[in-house]
Symmetry: C2
């Protein structure tokens, strides 16, 4: 294989596991995806059945065969910072180790393999490779595409190749982060009666959180589990001063049958009779309905097998959902290994993913 220092080359005749190793060995920490995007673009432009677009470090490739149905396969090219776990290493048990093996260069490898080896799919295909998923949403490449080129995201059904251990995970829960601020008045702690304690004022907020009974809700046969949790608390000025402020950071993870407005209204209601001086919405991403009743989704689940599960964490499927495209998560890799120093994936699972998707797209 020819290694040019300018452009790492990708050999799409390698199997998906070997290709994953090759992709892991091209470092692509968020905001540093140019090399890998160049390599992906170069490899895709060599495939005559695809039309290729580039936007920043996003690469989009499409078939245009005139099928009634279009499926979008999407994955991010970036990884969290490398933790001494690059280059990749395949051990004797067939486990591939390294940064991005699981999240989600194995998914990227599967996409590239399908792009190269399925020139005549039974549905039109759009492959979206995007940048900057692992950092603040403002940088997210899929968000940028949804804003600048929404037509590139169009389709009847989307598969996001985030790790799911080869189970179909439907939709995703929404996530709302609010800051609940209580106020008090400073005083020397030796004369506490001259002030008012903002940390004590947070007592009913914590009591409400501790007593909260999260909802479980069935949508398209999947059971979502909500959660309302303090993720941070902070208050205090000095060891001899009555605190005049305290902030509880609350994260509400909610099932996708709630809209953003409903989720926020619910949180306001939960704390309605607490002494909250200010409620600040710090971050808010809507959920995505699983859309498993959609015919394209049903056909996909039948083809790849297994029992669909709900996705509890937030993923970029919500961006497809917001555009009216039902979307699921499906890829190799245990999601609990993502971002870990000992991140890894079973090589055989990558190949199996490729085969199952090829079977579905060529049946």
């Amino acid at each position: 294989m020819d290694h040019s220092p300018q452009l790492p080359l990708l050999d799409l005749s390698l199997d998906a596991a070997q290709l994953t190793a090759r992709l892991v060995d091209i470092p692509s920490v968020s905001l540093d995806e140019k090399d890998i995007a160049d390599a992906v673009e170069h490899a895709l432009r060599a495939l005559p059945h695809l039309t290729v677009h580039r936007d920043g470090n996003c690469v989009v490739a499409r078939t245009d065969l005139g099928h009634a149905e279009r499926v979008v396969l999407a994955g991010h090219l970036d990884t969290v910072p490398i933790a001494g776990n690059v280059p990749s290493r395949l051990d004797e048990d067939g486990v591939l180790w390294g940064c991005g093996t699981c999240d989600m260069k194995s998914g990227i490898a599967v996409m590239l393999r399908l792009a190269a080896t399925v020139p005549a799919p039974n549905r039109d295909l759009t492959f979206i490779f995007y940048d900057a998923e692992e950092i603040a949403a403002e940088h997210n490449g899929l968000k940028r595409l949804a804003e600048h080129h929404p037509q590139w995201l169009e389709g009847d059904f989307a598969i996001l190749l985030e790790p799911t251990d080869l189970q179909v995970e439907g939709g995703c829960q929404g996530t709302l982060r609010v800051l609940l601020r209580t106020e008090g008045e400073r005083a020397h702690s030796a004369r506490a009666w001259m002030g008012s304690n903002a940390v004590h004022a947070a007592a009913p907020i914590l009591a409400r959180l501790a007593a909260y009974e999260p909802r479980r809700v069935l949508i398209d046969g999947l059971e979502y589990r909500e959660g309302l949790n303090a993720v941070r608390i902070e208050g205090g000025v000095a060891n001899n001063v009555i605190p005049d402020g305290c902030t509880v950071t609350v994260n509400f993870r909610y099932a996708p049958d709630r809209t953003q407005e409903e989720a926020l209204a619910h949180v306001r209601e939960v704390f309605a009779d607490c002494p909250v001086a200010e409620l600040i919405v710090d971050d808010h991403s809507p959920g995505a309905l699983p859309g498993l009743s959609h015919p394209a989704a049903r056909a996909f689940i039948e083809a790849v097998g297994g029992e669909p599960r709900p996705k509890f964490g937030w993923t970029d499927v919500a961006r497809f959902s917001a555009l009216g495209v039902p979307a699921v998560n499906y890829a190799p890799g245990d999601p609990l290994l993502a971002h870990k120093k000992d991140e890894r994936v079973l090589a055989a699972q990558i190949v199996e993913c490729e085969e199952r998707l090829r079977a579905w797209l060529t049946a």
Copy 2:
């Protein structure tokens, strides 16, 4: 007046207000008291009726006239960091401005004036000038003297010249700081049920604090007011992680009828049924009984007049109390102005303090 660059000279024939101004103009932020200690020592060694000792930046001067009673006058030489408020400035209303005017170079000036002008007091006198009161207790000069030379602190009665606005303030409250730690188990906040929230676990601690009814207690005719307060709270790892730890820093200010052991036992009892994984004693200084029933104290109060008040904050009187020496706080200056950028004192009040004490010591 001769200003040597090596040794600032103190002219003890100035009145106490002018001498205060001179002392303020010798910067002496904690741990940088050598110049002022040298100046004080030099001035005192010129007085033949005093025996002078030096220990680090502490200076101790004593009469030895064989009186049945010995009174200790004590004050610290250091100040908090200068905040653009040195040199001192006397305005047209007779207010002296500057760092240390109130806390407590006015008290130091009164001590120096008494040392110089009362060669034959009616009680033996010990003057203690010490360093490093404004920082962590480990540096405190009076603490060091109490450990290395406890005999220098001996007496029948002690006056600490911390600012009290020329009111006798008896004893001081104790102060106990404990860290209450709750524990949980980390989990992704999208799967909160897999963990356990340490911030939620702090709810009963805050509830207990919010509901706590502090005791008021009468000792020697003075009403002390206790207080139990969170001064800090901190918990959380990341915005998407269930916190596995939370720490509430609690400050208990207690009346001097409780011993240290009793105070700690009380705090343990208050939180006995809360899920506290660990209670750490972070700092603990005992209170000091006012000792106003002691004959020397009674004579002092009669001589200087006014209605004695309780001291709520902790002061070094507790070090005398621990050695069995009843002690009060008495000096010019509003204690609420201590440590402020606009720290100040009425010049006339400094002179009045000097006169009242001289009257008592020469009656």
